[in-house]
Point group: C2
Chain length 117, copies 2
DNA sequence: TCGTCTGTTTAGGTGTCACTTTACACTCGA
DNA sequence: TCGAGTGTAAAGTGACACCTAAACAGACGA
């Protein structure tokens, strides 16, 4: 079940075309071959590695974390954070799982505050 | 730089021996060959796949998230949670990064409370 | 000294990921 | 009609994840 995955390619193709960037040009900026990008955009190949996804995000003006999620990945920076304190972070994420966006934003603000002092 | 990794094998060997479980017995319970487990325990092979790590954790009585971290991994369940709301979760984790254990515990409690209502 | 434990060495093996190269087919303006 | 641009098809590659089977060496009790 890779529903999220299936749409990554279609999404970036749409955004690329909206920005009127050629496939070869985009491929060059990302640092991959045009052939490969073509397959990725038609979801024949899975999304590329994290660094490539980040470059794509920058080019099409999307949030990197969001695009990584669409690619079925999580920023390695975030998994690093979790690995530093696995138990607390795991508890936390499970607790947070069902919350609304507002509740989460509130918690993030509290975290910022706790940090600031 | 796989410092965390290097110690996974040594750690589970120590715990296994403390519990007086033979290598072959352990291997059987986990569902791998004794050969493989031997190499893993001497850190000649990287830690096994997530499900195997979980079984090891259960056998030696360790927290699965902690052992997964030692194995250089994060529970796929947790990355799933992040992928559902990447922006909020990313903001949050970055905000939480520098906090003390107490601050984090406090936030987790608040999350629980927000959820409960 | 034989059988049976223990862990270890050697020597693979398969599958997946993340790509590349080469060659091709189409369209369109000059 | 040509050449310069678009995207695409087919095949292959190198590295790594994740493991296995067969054989062996040493200790230990009967």
């Amino acid at each position: 079940m890779k529903v999220g995955r299936e749409k990554f390619g279609a999404f970036i193709r749409r955004e690329r075309e909206a920005k009127e960037i050629g496939l070869r040009e985009m491929a060059k900026k990302i640092g991959v071959s045009p052939t490969y990008l073509s397959k990725v955009e038609r979801d024949e190949f899975p999304p590329p590695a994290e660094d490539k996804v980040r470059k794509i995000a920058a080019i099409i003006g999307q949030d990197a974390d969001e695009l990584l999620a669409l690619a079925g990945r999580v920023a390695s920076e975030l998994t690093d954070i979790i690995r530093e304190r696995p138990r607390e972070m795991a508890d936390f994420l499970r607790a947070v799982k069902g919350l609304t966006a507002e509740d989460m934003a509130r918690l993030a603000r509290q975290a910022q505050k706790a940090k600031g002092k």
